[in-house]
């Protein structure tokens, strides 16, 4: 466990009972959780290697409670960690020992659906899938579909700018959210965006989406809903290796096609998925592509034919188009279950999330394999091939001494590689604590300082979710220029928290 969190503020901890009492006055009844067994429920998120009990958890039900909690914390210099469903894979919702955990789960109502204007107004604790469930009777759906969609909250999606397998065509969360209600740390309640397609002034909504809970607490979300396409068809194509599959992906785009989804799996991922869900995947291929097209039936027929031909031209031995909804779902079943499938073949796995220019795919996969050999760890790759978002799953066993550290080191090496070839640290899972200390690989000191200055405009004391996203020295150096190079700080004698 190499990632350190800020040292707890002892003066805050000493006031714990007073703080618990103050919160209980704001949220009466069951809304304040302070006993250790109950706090265990919040100690981790989807980055399960890390756990920390919060000082106290509070579960408000109304916007005025949220505002009062934040104002109290702001006045008293207390840190706050917002939490939705706790599925973050980057440790974004990891509690702080001296922080209030603000659970948004009770904000679970769909407030308004307007089919004529194609929007839904929901509370942040509503799950991603529940939005689709609320509108599907009228033939609508909410497009971003993270694999965690049964569990993750729309508030968490906004904070992480979550994606899904359909985001090449339909966009990430940021492209599907029209407005939010946001409570600032000082208790100010604001509306950013709304029902119109663009704001009157600065696009603050744009920077709040993906801000990982550092800028404010989202208490309401207005999303766009779309009419469900008439048909969807998936193609399953098996290639001898990742390179030929990658060429096919480029050729599909070159042919002017933007598929609804385009996913790639490598051999270890295919084998794990097939053993788990028996999707009917071929086991003798080096790479599998699942390409989905949607729209009127005539369009799907036409595109399936063109894409199948492109696959064959690029060396696909197997090309199968789904002929029924059941078969389409079966093609997806393996891909959608790839993470748990890998979880069956290894005691632990660590999911990475870099994005690369697609033309670098073959090179990057070869380097990952080589890096894995060097540290003695195996890796299975699933890849949002359409947009270059790579999910290497590093297999390790945390009960074996040193393996967690080795897995983290391997993960960091993969992410450095992604940046080196022109890509980024995270395509959809967020920086959280996980990639925090790698931010310097992508951004200069100036860039990071500027981002944090934007943060200060919302949260001057940096009380919201501190220790996340930005390398810790940055947060503590109060915007001064502290250059950290190879672990060496300019003023090593100064204390930093």
């Amino acid at each position: 466990m190499t990632i350190q969190m800020p040292a707890p503020d002892q003066t805050v901890l000493a006031r714990r009972s007073e703080i618990v009492a103050a919160l209980a006055r704001i949220v009466p009844g069951e809304g304040v959780v302070s006993d250790e067994p109950s706090l265990r429920a919040f100690e981790s998120d989807g980055l399960t290697a890390y756990a920390q009990l919060p000082m106290v958890a509070v579960l408000p039900e109304t916007v005025s409670q949220v505002a009062a909690i934040l104002r109290y914390c702001s006045d008293n210099g207390i840190k706050v960690v917002p939490r939705g469903s706790g599925t973050s894979l980057s440790g974004g919702a990891l509690p702080l020992a001296d922080g209030v955990l603000l659970g948004m789960g009770r904000f679970n109502k769909v407030l308004r659906i307007d089919y004529a204007d194609r929007i839904a107004v929901v509370q942040p604790g509503v799950t991603n899938l529940a939005i689709t469930r609320a509108v599907e009777g009228e033939g609508f759906y909410y497009a971003p579909d993270p694999s965690s969609q049964i569990a993750c909250s729309i508030g968490g999606n906004v904070a992480e700018n979550a994606g899904g397998v359909h985001c090449l065509k339909y966009g990430l969360t940021t492209n599907n959210v029209l407005g939010v209600e946001l409570v600032l740390i000082d208790g100010t309640v604001l509306r950013l965006g709304g029902e119109a397609l663009e704001p009157a002034g600065l696009d603050l909504l744009g920077v709040v989406v993906g801000s990982e809970g550092l800028l404010g607490v989202v208490t309401e979300v207005t999303v766009r809903i779309l009419s469900k396409p008439a048909t969807a068809r998936a193609l399953l194509m098996g290639f001898p290796d990742a390179k030929s599959a990658g060429n096919a992906v480029a050729a599909v785009i070159g042919a002017g096609i933007v598929p609804a989804g385009m996913e790639m799996m490598d051999r270890p991922a295919i084998h794990a998925a097939e053993a788990f869900v028996h999707a009917g995947y071929p086991l003798d291929v080096g790479a599998l592509l699942i390409v989905e097209v949607d729209g009127p039936e005539a369009e799907c027929d036409h595109l399936a034919e063109v894409i199948g031909a492109i696959g064959r031209e690029n060396g696909a031995g197997l090309v199968r188009a789904s002929t029924s909804e059941a078969e389409r779902m079966a093609f997806w079943a393996g891909r959608k279950a790839a993470f748990p499938a890998v979880g069956r073949i290894s005691p632990d796995y660590y999911c990475m999330d870099g994005t690369i220019p697609r033309r670098q795919l073959a090179h990057v996969l070869a380097r990952i394999e080589q890096l894995g050999d060097e540290c003695g760890l195996k890796v299975a790759n699933v890849f949002h091939a359409g947009d270059g978002n790579l999910h290497p799953l590093i297999l390790y066993d945390r009960d074996k001494p040193g393996e967690l550290d080795a897995a983290e080191e391997f993960g960091n090496a993969i992410l450095r590689l992604c940046v080196e070839v022109g890509g980024v640290l995270t395509g959809e899972h967020g920086v959280g604590i996980e990639k925090r200390d790698l931010m310097g690989e992508m951004f200069t000191e100036t860039d990071l300082e500027q981002q944090q200055r934007v943060g200060r405009a919302f949260d001057p004391q940096a009380l919201l979710n501190p220790g996340k996203v930005f390398p810790m020295l940055h947060r503590c150096a109060e915007m001064g220029r502290v250059h950290v190079h190879n672990g060496q700080t300019r003023f090593p004698e100064l204390p930093r928290f």
């Binding site: 004529a116 204007d117 194609r118 992480e160 994606g163 985001c167 090449l168 966009g171 990430l172 940021t174 492209n175 600032l184 100010t188 604001l190 509306r191 709304g194 029902e195 119109a196 397609l197 663009e198 009157a200 002034g201 600065l202 603050l204 744009g206 920077v207 993906g210 801000s211 009419s227 396409p229 008439a230 042919a255 002017g256 729209g295 009127p296 039936e297 005539a298 369009e299 036409h302 994005t355 690369i356 220019p357 033309r359 949002h384 947009d387 978002n389 022109g422 980024v424 640290l425 995270t426 959809e428 899972h429 920086v431 951004f443 860039d447 500027q450 981002q451 943060g455 405009a457 919302f458």
Partner: protein, 387 residues
């Protein structure tokens, strides 16, 4: 005063760092007549032009901000691609010839055309940038790949910022394959309410309409026309047209317009030259609010048309006096929308802010965010009458 014209990012940095007076960042100057007149020194970005990296298969293009928009669209078209948000050149709205708009200018002004309703806007296509902030520092934000959530999405702030945060030197934009075919179906004779309902039904149908606009008789003398556009591969466009005809049967008969005629109409919807009076407003609204507003303003002498299925209402007054701007804005606000004064005589622009004001707490936050980039106000020219 002579314009400053940097030709490199270093130049730009030096100019901004040394500037003792406000600077107005300018591309082709096609939107220079938006907002209050001001005396700021012009920072001409056209010396920073040209494509830096474009590999069509990656669906991104990186280029210098002063590159003419026309060059960008031509290059993309030559590779079968396009900017799906349909950015356009404002020059004709100010009686100037088109061709001067730069890509940096259209991104900074958040310019988007009819397809914005389904394809997203400038903000949705700006993936990364290099800019020089008011601090005179080079800032790199976002990235050069389509999918990225590393750090705050600072590019979103720059899109539509009208140059108030910094001068963008380089941009990375998401591009997509251009549709192979387009088709436009029209319903004739509808009033604003029926037209908006038809557009809502079309956009809410599974038939994949990409744009929807309504032109009343005052705009298009051929009579009121509700236009619904499709884009895609030929078999798809044919199927979508047939599907929509069935879905909209209750709204009226759909006729397929000849492509060249339809193209001309969409060009006028994009750059509304026919609304040629002195006062031109642009209202962003919840779509279903548009008809009532159109009727209300028409009664007060406005000409209008709807784009984005009603989400965008263009208004024009032939008469210099137009209508009381405060009244226009009050009506827009009641409808949960906002109104931009895009074109107006100088006297009006001196007293009426081009942008619709926001609530005080939001304005204050915007001010703090701007100050984070430009604490000394190098890029505060007085154009927006809000500080």
């Amino acid at each position: 005063m002579e314009a400053l014209r940097p030709t490199s990012v270093e130049d730009l940095c030096a100019i901004v760092a040394e500037s003792r007076e406000p600077l107005e960042i300018r591309g082709g100057g096609t939107k220079a007549l938006v907002g209050a007149p001001n005396a700021a020194r012009v920072l001409d970005m056209r010396g920073l032009a040209g494509v830096i990296d474009y590999d069509p298969a990656e669906l991104v293009i990186t280029l210098r901000a002063g590159t003419p928009l026309r060059k960008v669209t031509e290059l993309l078209a030559a590779n079968g691609q396009h900017l799906p948000f349909e950015p356009w050149d404002h020059a004709p709205l100010f009686s100037k010839p088109a061709g001067e708009a730069t890509i940096g200018g259209v991104i900074a002004a958040g310019v988007a055309g009819p397809r914005r309703v389904t394809a997203g806007g400038a903000r949705d296509h700006l993936l990364g940038l290099t800019a020089v902030t008011g601090r005179g520092e080079v800032l790199v934000a976002g990235a050069r790949v389509v999918k990225n959530v590393t750090g705050y999405d600072v590019p979103k702030l720059f899109a539509g910022s009208w140059g108030r945060l910094g001068a963008m030197a380089e941009l990375t934009l998401k591009v997509l394959p251009a549709p192979r075919e387009t088709a436009t179906l029209a319903i004739a004779g509808l009033g604003p309410r029926a037209a908006q309902a038809a557009m809502a039904a079309a956009l809410g149908s599974p038939h994949g309409v990409c744009s929807a606009a309504h032109l009343p008789q005052t705009f298009d003398r051929a009579g009121p026309h509700t236009l619904l556009r499709f884009a895609g591969f030929a078999p798809s466009v044919t199927a979508r047209c047939a599907g929509l005809e069935a879905t909209l049967a209750a709204h009226g008969a759909l006729i397929r317009l000849p492509e060249d005629y339809a193209d001309r109409l969409w060009a006028e919807i994009t750059v509304p030259v026919p609304l040629d009076g002195p006062v031109l407003w642009r209202l962003a609204l919840p779509p279903s609010e548009a008809p009532a507003l159109a009727e209300r303003f028409e009664a007060d002498g406005a000409r209008w048309f709807m784009d984005w299925g009603g989400g965008l209402l263009w208004l024009e007054w032939e008469d210099e006096a137009g209508m009381d701007p405060a009244e226009v804005r009050a009506v827009a606000e009641v409808a949960r929308g906002h109104a931009m004064l895009l074109r107006a005589p100088e006297a009006l622009r001196r007293s009426v802010p081009a942008q619709h004001s926001r609530l005080a707490a939001l304005m204050a936050l915007e001010g703090r965010v701007r100050a984070a980039f430009d604490p000394a106000g190098v890029f505060e020219t007085g154009r927006w009458l809000d500080v």
